[in-house]
C-alpha cells in the first residue's frame, strides 16, 4: 500500500476534530471528578440537552427568518444557559444530599439522572434523529483546505483550544479557581478556611455543563443530526479521554481527548470501522491496568 499523504492528513484532522469534542466533554468530567470524586454519569446527557436546546431554539428562529449569525449566537447561548441550569439542578437534587453517603450511592444516583434525562427527552420530543440546522457557515477563506477538514470541524478545534486556555486561566489565576483547587485537595480543610464548598461545587457543575453544551452545539452542526441517545456513547468516550489524560487534570483531558480521537480515526481509517466503539473500551481497560493515573496524572494511593 503506498503512502497517501492527503488521506493521512484527512484522518489526522478528522481525528483532531473528533478528539476536540471528546476533550470538551471530558473537561466537565475531569473538573467534577477532581472536586467531588464522582463520575458524573449524567454528563453526557447534559451535552445532549445542550444540543437539543440549540436545535429547538435555532429551528424556531430559522422559521421566524432571523439573521444567521444572530441564530448562531442565541442558540449557542441558550444551549449553554440551559445545560448549565440542568447541571446545577441535577447536582442540587441528586448529588448534594448524598455528599456524605458511601461512594457507590452518588454513582447510582448519577446513573438514575442519566436514565431520567434520556427518557425525558425521548418522551417530550422524539426518538428519531432530528436534522440539526447548519449553524456554522462554510467559511469562504477556508475553501482551499475544505477537502481535508470542513469549516465546522475547524471551528470545533478552535473553540476547544480557546475553552481550554480560558479554563486554565480560571483555575490557575482567579479566586474561584483557587477555591476550586483547595476544595479538590481537601474538602473539610477548605470548609475550615472559610471556602463556601457548596458554591464551588455548583460553579464546577455549571462550568462543566457549559463546556459540554458547546460540544453539543458543535457536534450537532458538524454531524447534522442528533437524537436523545447521543449523550451515552459520547459520555463514555469522554470519560475514557479524561481517564487517559489523567482524571482531574485539565490539559490531561484535552490531551486524552485528542489521543483517543486520533487513535480512533487512524484505526477506523486504516484497519476496520466495525469495531470503532469497542476500541475506546479496550483502550480504557488497557490504560486502567497499565497506567491508572493516566498520561499526565499522578497515581493516587487510597487513603484510609
Amino acid at each position: 500500500m503506498h503512502w497517501d499523504y492527503s488521506y493521512f492528513m484527512e484522518l489526522f484532522l478528522g481525528g483532531l476534530a473528533k478528539g476536540s469534542i471528546y476533550a470538551l466533554i471530558a473537561l466537565g468530567y475531569t473538573m467534577v471528578y477532581g472536586i467531588i470524586e464522582l463520575i458524573n454519569f449524567a454528563h453526557g446527557d447534559i451535552y445532549m440537552i445542550g444540543a437539543f436546546t440549540a436545535l429547538i431554539v435555532a429551528s424556531v428562529l430559522t422559521m421566524l427568518a432571523w439573521n444567521k449569525l444572530a441564530i448562531l449566537v442565541i442558540a449557542t447561548l441558550a444551549a449553554v444557559v440551559y445545560a448549565s441550569a440542568y447541571g446545577w439542578t441535577a447536582e442540587k437534587i441528586a448529588y448534594k444530599p448524598l455528599r456524605n453517603a458511601p461512594r457507590l450511592s452518588p454513582l447510582i444516583s448519577a446513573i438514575g439522572v442519566s436514565l431520567f434525562l434520556e427518557n425525558y427527552v425521548l418522551l417530550a420530543q422524539t426518538s428519531d434523529f432530528l436534522p440539526f440546522p447548519s449553524l456554522i457557515p462554510d467559511f469562504k477563506w477556508w475553501e482551499p483546505y475544505a477537502y481535508m477538514i470542513s469549516s465546522q470541524q475547524l471551528m470545533i478545534i478552535i473553540v476547544t483550544a480557546v475553552v481550554m486556555v480560558l479554563l486554565t486561566i480560571l483555575i490557575k489565576f482567579t479566586r474561584t479557581g483557587k477555591a476550586m483547587r483547595a476544595t479538590a485537595q481537601d474538602m473539610s480543610m477548605a470548609i475550615l478556611v472559610g471556602i463556601d464548598v457548596d458554591r464551588v461545587i455548583s460553579i464546577t457543575f455549571i462550568i462543566g455543563s457549559a463546556t459540554a453544551a458547546l460540544g453539543g452545539v458543535l457536534i450537532g452542526s458538524s454531524m447534522g443530526q442528533i437524537n436523545f441517545y447521543i449523550g451515552f456513547i459520547a459520555g463514555i468516550k469522554a470519560f475514557v479521554a479524561a481517564v487517559l489524560g489523567g482524571i482531574g487534570s485539565i490539559p490531561g483531558a484535552v490531551l486524552g481527548g485528542l489521543v483517543l480521537g486520533w487513535t480512533e480515526s487512524f484505526f477506523t481509517g486504516y484497519i476496520s470501522s466495525d469495531y470503532e466503539d469497542v476500541f475506546a473500551f479496550v483502550f480504557l481497560v488497557l490504560i486502567l491496568i497499565f497506567r491508572p493515573g493516566g498520561i499526565l496524572g499522578r497515581s493516587q494511593t487510597q487513603k484510609v
Binding site: L38, I39, I49, F52, T53, I56, S59, V60, M63, A78, Y82, A85, T89, I93, A94, P97, L98, A101, P102, R103, L104, S105, L107, I108, S109, I111, G112, V113, S114, L115, F116, L117, E118, N119, Y120, L123, A124, Q125, T126, L130, P131, P133, F232, I236, F239, V243, D274, Y275, D277, V278, A280, F281, V282, L284, V285, L288, I289, P292, Q302, V304
Partner: protein, 426 residues
C-alpha cells in the same frame, strides 16, 4: 405547618422548573413541515406538580435529617417491619407457606400468558440474586452484568447449533463459561476502585454486545439465532401450554436453588469476607482477607447465575439476538437490586417482582418505565439507600463470654466477633 416562606420557596421551585423544561417540554419543532407545536399545557402541569412536590421533598428531607441526628445522638434504630417479620416465626412461617402455595398453583390457576410473564419475572429474580452477590454483598458496582447473561444465552444457542448440545448439558457448561468470563473480567479490574470498576464493567458489557453484533460468522450478527430448542423434560412431548408450565417450574426450581445458595453463601466464610470488603477494603486486607480471591469469587459466582439465566432465557424464547443484551438490561437488573435492597435476598425478589410485573400489568405506564426507573434510582439512594427491604445482618454473640459473667461491653471484644457484631447502621 405551611408558612409563607414555604409557599414562596415552592413557588420559586415551580417557576425554576417551568423555565428549565420550557424548550424541551413546550416546543416541538417539525423540521420537515416547518411547523412549531406549542404545548403550553405541559408547562402548567409541571408548574403545579413541582409546586406540590417540593413540599413533599422538603418534608422528606427534614425527616431524613432528623433520623440522621437521632442516630448520632445514640438512639438505636427502630427494628424495621421486615426485621420484625423475619425474626418472629409466627409471621414468617405462614408468610412463606402462602408464597409457596401461590407459586405452586400459579400455572394451574392463571392463563398461559400470565405464566409466561411470571417466568420472565423469575428469570430476573435469578439475575437480580446473581448481581446481588456482586453489588449487594461484595459492593462491586457491575454495570456489564448483562454480558454474562448474553454469554449464557449464546453458549446454549451456539453449542446447540453446532454440536447439538441439549439444554440440560448446556446449563452447567454455560454456568462454567460465564464464571470463567467473570474471572477473566475480574483479573484486570481487581485493582480498580469502585467507580472505575463501574465504567470498565460497562465497557465490558458493551464490548461483548458489539462483538456479538459485528462478528457475523460467529454469532450470526444482529439477525440473531432462531429455532433454539426448548428444554426437554424426561423425553416427554409437551403441548405449548405444558411446556410453558414446565419452563415455569424449572425456573421456580432454579430460583429456589439460587436463593438457597445465596443464603448459604452469605453466612459462609466467603460471604462474610464479601461484606467486610464492601465496608472497608483496607481494613479488610488488614484483617487478613485475600482481596484478590474474594473479589474474583464474587465475580465468578455472580456470573454463574447470569449464565444459567441466559440458557433458560434462550430456551424459553427460542430466539436470541444482541438487542436483548443492551446496557439497559444491566441497568434494569441494577434497579432490581437497588430498589429491593442491596444484600437482601427477599428484597431482591420483591424488587424483581415489582419492576418486571408492574409494567406488564400497567400498560399505560409502559413508555414511562425507564423514566420512572431513573427517578427510582435517585430517590432510593437519597431516602432509602438500603432498599425496600433492608438486609438483616446476622448477629453473632459469644455464649462463652456471657457464661463467664463478662458483660458484653467489658474489655475488648474478640476480633472475630468485632467484625460481625456491629449492626448495619450507615
Amino acid at each position: 405547618m405551611i408558612t409563607i416562606e414555604e409557599i414562596k420557596r415552592s413557588f420559586l421551585a415551580a417557576l425554576w422548573f417551568v423555565f428549565l423544561t420550557f424548550p424541551i417540554m413546550v416546543i416541538r419543532v417539525n423540521t420537515i413541515e416547518n411547523t412549531i407545536e406549542w404545548r403550553f399545557h405541559n408547562a402548567v402541569i409541571i408548574g403545579v406538580s413541582i409546586f406540590f412536590l417540593s413540599f413533599l421533598w422538603r418534608y422528606l428531607m427534614r425527616r431524613k435529617e432528623q433520623g440522621a441526628k437521632a442516630l448520632q445522638q445514640g438512639a438505636t434504630p427502630k427494628p424495621t417491619l421486615t426485621e420484625y417479620f423475619f425474626q418472629d416465626r409466627r409471621f414468617y412461617i405462614p408468610g412463606l407457606t402462602a408464597a409457596a402455595v401461590f407459586f405452586a398453583v400459579f400455572p394451574f390457576v392463571f392463563s398461559i400468558y400470565q405464566v409466561n410473564i411470571m417466568s420472565n419475572a423469575l428469570i430476573y429474580v435469578m439475575l437480580g440474586l446473581g448481581l446481588n452477590i456482586v453489588v449487594g454483598l461484595a459492593g462491586l458496582l457491575d454495570l456489564g452484568y448483562v454480558a454474562f447473561y448474553a454469554i449464557g444465552a449464546y453458549s446454549y444457542a451456539l453449542l446447540n447449533l453446532h454440536y447439538g448440545v441439549g439444554f440440560w448439558l448446556a446449563l452447567p457448561i454455560a454456568a462454567v463459561l460465564a464464571a470463567s468470563a467473570g474471572v477473566l473480567l475480574g483479573f484486570p479490574v481487581l485493582r480498580l476502585r469502585g467507580d472505575y470498576l463501574a465504567i470498565v464493567t460497562l465497557g465490558f458489557g458493551e464490548i461483548i454486545r458489539l462483538i456479538l453484533e459485528n462478528w457475523n460468522s460467529f454469532s450470526h450478527g444482529p439477525s440473531g439465532i432462531a429455532n433454539i430448542p426448548q428444554p426437554s423434560f424426561f423425553g416427554l412431548h409437551l403441548s405449548l401450554e405444558g411446556n410453558t408450565s414446565a419452563v415455569y417450574f424449572l425456573l421456580v426450581a432454579l430460583s429456589l436453588m439460587t436463593i438457597f445458595f445465596v443464603n448459604r453463601l452469605r453466612h459462609s466464610r466467603i460471604g462474610r469476607a464479601w461484606l467486610a470488603l464492601r465496608e472497608d477494603e483496607v481494613a479488610c486486607q488488614a484483617m487478613g482477607i485475600d482481596r484478590t480471591k474474594t473479589k474474583l469469587t464474587a465475580f465468578a459466582l455472580g456470573a454463574t447465575w447470569a449464565g444459567m439465566a441466559g440458557v433458560v432465557f434462550a430456551a424459553k424464547t427460542t430466539f436470541i439476538n444482541p438487542a436483548s443484551f443492551t446496557i439497559w438490561e444491566s441497568i434494569i437488573i441494577l434497579c432490581i437490586v437497588v430498589l429491593g435492597g442491596m444484600g437482601s435476598v427477599v428484597g431482591v425478589i420483591t424488587g424483581a417482582m415489582v419492576l418486571i410485573l408492574m409494567p406488564e400489568y400497567m400498560r399505560a405506564f409502559e413508555q414511562y418505565r425507564m423514566l420512572i426507573f431513573g427517578g427510582v434510582l435517585i430517590l432510593m439512594m437519597i431516602f432509602r439507600p438500603h432498599g425496600i427491604i433492608t438486609a438483616v445482618r446476622k448477629k453473632y454473640t459469644f455464649e462463652g463470654l456471657e457464661a463467664e459473667g463478662g458483660a458484653p461491653g467489658l474489655g475488648a471484644p474478640a476480633p472475630a466477633a468485632g467484625l460481625e457484631t456491629r449492626s448495619e447502621s450507615n
